[in-house]
Amino acid sequence: MSRLSLHSISKSYGAIHALSHVSVTVEPGEVLGLMGDNGAGKTTLVKIIAGNFPPSTGEIRVDDQPVTFHNPRDAQRHGIEVVYQDLALCDNLSAASNVFLGRETMRSLGPLRYIDYAKMNRVAAELFRQLKSETRPRDLVRRMSGGQRQAVAIARTLLSEPKIVIMDEPTAAISVRQVAEVLDVIRRLRDHGISVILISHRMPDVFGVSDKIAVLRRGELVASKRADQSSPEEVTGLITGAIEAA
């Protein structure tokens, strides 16, 4: 059984073919490192898996069942969560509000329904503790460090016991120590049987945690193989086109 399988996914923006016939699978508890040059189509692929828009053609299966996502909530309902490249946080809201954004916990008072901030703060504090982050749930995201923002974005994905967590360049804008923390988080997710798709430019990060490596070049999948059967040199060649395919 594959946790997630993509079958011949294509996507064009008008005349631009961002993805053509991409097929790839991810097993439960597997970390897939997705690599490729700028504009290779990584973010586009993430957005398709996350339900931000449908593929032009192709099929997505979760646990071998074909699925169609009309919006991000559909994907979330199937256990797919994403940490976006720019983290997609709202600076003017608290950490807890960001974690629950779009899925706020509600309480009822007679016919009235209102946001249960107390519970959201409690759950968010617990998630931050799991992530070993010193982020405080009530603090505004605007005043936070890069690592804390990262924790908020990752905590958001853990809210609903996800099956698959996708991270788009999670280590792009943070310090070396924080990178190590993010990689630790990825390992912990994997140990809980959660599949992770990690997108990164940083070869050591990818080889440090990935079980499998996939390489996109100009919208085409040129490699998808076990990390221990590949090497940074080979992947670099695949990304640049020096190596045609592997």
Binding site: P72, Y84, C90, L93, G102, R136
Partner: protein, 329 residues
């Protein structure tokens, strides 16, 4: 766990006073109070019942619409069409009531007309992706034109069988307080709760803060925008009905230029033109300051031609303060 909560509790406790005094809202309120005190001392006419009554009512109209405007601004948009929506709603209620329609039918009809303007704004902004400034500039022109067509550009002063009821609703008072103030208070209370405690309120701030994030997390941004412009238009429509009753007659220049006063009130009250911030209470306090200043110009014998200068300066200064505040943090 307890230690974390302790730290949170302590830090919140310690900064309570500094937090209040760092709020723009606090200082605007102090400014308004000081202006009132100064006027009571400097003039004989400010603290008279009649003048206060008028100030209160004008303030209520601006405040009601400023609450709707704050909603739009906090979501990262702008609504220039409110002044024209005021006249459209006032014209719909006066024309239909003159034609014999009872108040209880004409009132929702006027609100519906206003709502249609807002929905049109929202649809063009959200679904056609047009800039709010351009869209609402268009409806600013179109809605007032429609009011002229409706009334044949004539003044309407006869509101038919329910004439006295409309006059009472907009111009009357209960327990010495003019009715528009009750409406303002109720609206401010409801919208404060909505901003803070509902998903709609949270999502509104999220859209204004980072629209892309809102879209990525699956918030129905387009539908939200339509409803946001709808709310703004409804507050303008409500004010239009009340103004019709207060004035006892409606002409097609009602509410002209009001959008600027309202935007100034919202911005002075802490609504961030870049989106993501704003409160109903702020809109009310902003409207209070604007109205007191406007009244003071009149009472101090300064030509009313200077009003636009003051309002323009206020907008720029408030935005400048905001820049400085964000620059520091």
């Amino acid at each position: 766990m307890t230690t974390l909560d302790d730290v949170i509790a302590r830090s919140e406790h310690r900064s309570w006073i500094s937090r209040v005094s760092s709020r723009q809202l606090f200082w605007v309120f102090i400014a308004a109070v000081l202006a009132c005190l100064a006027l009571s001392i400097l003039t004989d006419s400010f603290a008279t019942e009649r003048n206060l009554f008028n100030v209160a009512r004008n303030f209520a109209f601006v405040g009601i619409i400023a609450i709707g405007m704050t909603t739009v601004i906090a979501s990262g948009g702008i609504d220039l069409s409110v002044g024209s929506t005021v006249v459209l709603s006032a014209m719909v209620i006066s024309v239909t009531m003159e034609g014999g329609m009872p108040f209880l039918l004409a009132f929702p009809l006027a609100l519906l007309a206003a709502l249609l303007v807002g929905v049109l704004n929202g649809v063009l902004v959200a679904y056609a992706g047009m800039p709010p400034f351009v869209v609402t500039l268009g409806t600013l022109s179109a809605a007032r034109s429609l009011a002229m067509v409706l009334s044949d550009n004539k003044m309407i002063w006869n509101f038919g069988p329910d004439h006295d009821l409309l006059i009472w609703v907009g111009g009357g008072s209960t327990l010495g307080i003019p009715h528009p103030l009750y409406v303002l208070a109720a609206l401010a209370l409801v919208m404060s709760l909505v901003f803070r405690w509902t998903r709609w309120g949270q999502h509104l701030l999220a859209i204004g803060s980072n629209e892309n994030a809102a879209i990525l997390t699956g918030i129905p941004v387009r539908r939200m925008k339509v409803s946001i412009y709808g709310v703004s238009a409804l507050t303008a429509g409500l004010a239009g009905v009340l103004m019709a009753g207060w004035l006892g007659s409606v002409t097609t220049n009602l509410g002209q230029g009001m959008e600027l006063t309202v935007i100034a009130a919202a911005v002075i009250g802490g609504a961030n033109l870049a989106g993501g911030e704003g409160s109903a209470l702020g809109a009310v306090v902003g409207a209070l300051l604007i109205e007191v200043i406007r009244n003071s110009l009149i009472l101090l014998g300064i030509s009313t031609f200077w009003q636009g200068m003051f309002i323009g300066t206020f907008i720029v200064v408030a935005v400048a303060f905001d820049r400085v505040r964000h620059f520091r943090s």
